[in-house]
């Protein structure tokens, strides 16, 4: 019964209460019937008593009329006798009819009738005949006690009948009382038990149905208010248990899909923001050199300048046009990276040369910086794509200058550590927040600070990492926000087992 369904429990209790009510109604019915029976019996007893009284009076009337006639010869008595005699069948008939359902009483009633008839025919009518013949003889006959004896017999029979009738009525009434007492007791018992049953069931319903349902309702309004982490304790009656676990799986599903929605929304917003930033960045990176190109060409067309000035402005136009070309190349490189890798043109060359060359080139821009170049005395040979590595080193040095607007030291080092060429570019610039140190190698990523004050595409480091990786090397950064950054590139040095390359650069496509 612990896990029986609510419907089954309700059915059980309803059936129990119905049975008890049936017992209650049955007992009441039985009591009412028996009481009515007793009442009927009593009424009949009274009727029998009246009827037997009438018969008794009749017998007395017959006897006194007969005696009067015999003693006085007054014909008025004879008339009384005859009137009484005529009532005999009526009165005895009434009595018999009343007791017809009881053989013993009927027998007594019939006995009374025959006793009366015998009295009339065998005695009284003889006395009358005698009286008409001889008054004295009649007196004598009447004087003897035969008439009294006969009426006495009749009275005794009637008494017996009456007594018996009363006794029966009393018995019936006593039985009815007992029965109705029992019925009342049974009724009260059934009422009490069914009331108790209903109360207990009500309590049980309140405890194991209403309370959990209330809890579910409260939790549901929590959910409606946005608290999707509410969970109810599992268990309870079959239906309630099912409701609770359905509720829990609903909130779980809601929470999961809500989290999913929030996550997707976040991603969408992030990608929208990136797209907006990208468009802004691209248009900014294009507009600056375009402004110079368009401006100077307009001036050269519209105004007169001497040869020296013209030459200078054309150089500026050329430089800015180159910058635009580089931008286009950066985008092309990203396209290549996404298309599945770069094609490297490898040759053996001295990395020291390359670093010196790039440092000189980019240190030109570093007016307020203290440029430090720290290179080994002997060559460091690598088998690599020279142009691509120049792109990487140049990017790191120009970044170091660009991201230290207040000047400071820019140090470029090259060392060999355990068969690895290590190029480190150090600056004392704005630095990178710890959470951004991985992301700066993602394409188009620019830290918020950099994006608002320093121009750039966010492509340089992404391309650099891809180039270094495809050479089997690594690139990483150590940085402290506001203190500066050190970018370190590690590349395998050329194996000593490649003597064929001496003086004869090896070119191969990987």
């Amino acid at each position: 019964m612990r896990n029986a369904s609510l419907a089954r429990r309700v059915s059980f209790v309803a059936a129990g209460v119905a049975a008890l009510v049936a017992v209650l109604v049955g007992a009441s019915l039985l009591a009412v019937l028996s009481l009515r029976n007793a009442e009927r019996r009593e009424t009949r007893s009274k009727d029998v008593a009246v009827a037997s009284l009438h018969v008794r009076t009749l017998a007395a009337d017959l006897e006194s009329a007969l005696r009067g006639y015999a003693l006085s010869d007054n014909s008025r008595f004879l008339a009384l006798f005859r009137a009484a005699r005529a009532r005999v069948p009526v009165e005895t008939g009434r009595l018999s009819k009343l007791v017809a359902d009881d053989p013993v009483q009927l027998h007594r009633s019939e006995l009374v009738r025959s006793q009366l008839n015998d009295y009339v025919h065998d005695y009284a009518e003889n006395v009358i005949v005698i009286a008409q013949i001889s008054r004295n003889a009649a007196r004598g006959t009447a004087a003897n006690d035969e008439g009294k004896r006969r009426t006495g017999d009749i009275k005794r029979t009637l008494d017996a009948l009456l007594t018996d009738e009363n006794a029966r009525a009393q018995r019936t009434s006593a039985h009815a009382r007992t029965l109705s007492n029992v019925a009342v007791g049974v009724g009260i018992g059934a009422l009490a038990v069914s009331t108790l049953l209903v109360l207990l069931f009500g309590g049980w319903v309140a405890r194991s149905v209403a309370r959990p349902v209330r809890r579910v309702a409260a939790a549901a309004s929590d959910v409606a208010n946005g608290r999707l982490d509410v969970r109810l304790e599992e268990g309870g009656t079959a239906e309630v248990g099912a409701l609770v676990s359905a509720f829990n799986s609903m909130t779980r599903a809601l929470e999961t899909s809500h989290e999913e929605l929030v996550r997707q929304n976040e991603l969408l917003r992030e990608s929208e923001r990136q797209q907006r930033d990208l468009i802004g960045m691209v248009s900014h990176e294009l507009r600056t050199p375009l402004a110079a190109v368009l401006g100077f060409t307009s001036l050269l067309i519209e105004r007169e300048y001497d040869a020296e000035e013209r030459h200078r402005y054309l150089e500026i136009v050329q430089g800015q046009a180159r910058r635009l070309a580089r931008l286009a190349e950066d985008f092309l490189d990203v396209q290549l990276l996404e298309g599945g890798g770069l094609t490297l043109v490898r040759e053996r060359f001295d990395l020291v040369d390359l670093v010196r060359e790039q440092a000189r080139l980019f240190f030109l821009d570093a007016g307020k910086h203290e440029a430090v170049l720290d290179l080994p005395g002997e060559p460091v040979e690598v088998d690599a794509d020279r142009d691509r590595l120049a792109q990487v080193v140049g990017n790191l040095i120009s970044n170091a200058v660009k991201y230290s607007p207040d000047g400071g030291e820019v140090r470029v080092e090259l060392r060999v550590v355990d068969d690895e060429a290590v190029v480190a570019v150090h600056d004392e610039g704005v630095g990178i927040a710890p959470e951004d140190t991985e992301r700066i190698f993602e394409k188009f990523f620019r830290s918020d600070d950099a994006a608002s004050t320093i121009g750039g595409t966010g492509l340089g480091l992404a391309v650099a990492r891809e180039i270094v990786r495809s050479h089997g090397g690594t690139i990483d950064v150590q940085s402290e926000l506001g203190r500066g950054s050190t970018f370190t590139v590690r590349l395998p040095v050329a194996g000593r087992s490649l003597p064929a390359s001496q003086g004869n650069p090896l070119r191969r496509v990987v």
Binding site: H284, R287, P289, V293, G295, L299, E302, K402, P405
Partner: protein, 129 residues
């Protein structure tokens, strides 16, 4: 202004890109005395020193941004009335509104027409007189 009255109006050009500074200077020509600053800090120092009659100000500058410089100018008793033209590659309606709210007199997007620049400089200087 109790220093030697300049014959030519002084213009301060603030931009981190040297070619653009030079473009503005060349465009304005010999009628103006052009002074250049590559960043916000230098710009503020020069503003104090040379008391220009007009400022062309880029927004995206290393360190202090152009808008920071503008804000400081508008808060300063002496520089409050110096006309400022913002010259920026960032030119969405939001960028323009922000610049004008901070007290810029004009906004020019990059790239710009060289004729516009010179006439704008004249207009602003005349309005100031």
């Amino acid at each position: 202004m109790n220093h030697d009255a300049p014959i030519r109006p002084r213009v301060l050009v603030v931009d981190d890109e040297a070619p653009l500074r030079e473009l503005i200077a060349v465009t304005l020509g010999d009628d103006f005395e052009c002074i250049q600053a590559p960043d916000g800090e230098t710009a503020l120092e020069l503003l104090d020193e040379v008391k220009p009659d007009l400022v062309f100000l880029d927004v995206m500058l290393p360190g202090k941004s152009g808008l920071d410089v503008l804000e400081e100018m508008r808060a300063d008793e002496q520089m409050r009335d110096v006309p400022v033209v913002i010259v920026s590659a960032w030119q969405t309606p939001d960028d323009v509104t922000r610049a004008l709210e901070k007290g810029a007199d004009e906004f020019i997007g990059k790239p710009f027409l060289v004729d516009d620049l010179a006439s704008l400089a004249q207009t602003l200087l005349e309005r100031r007189r």
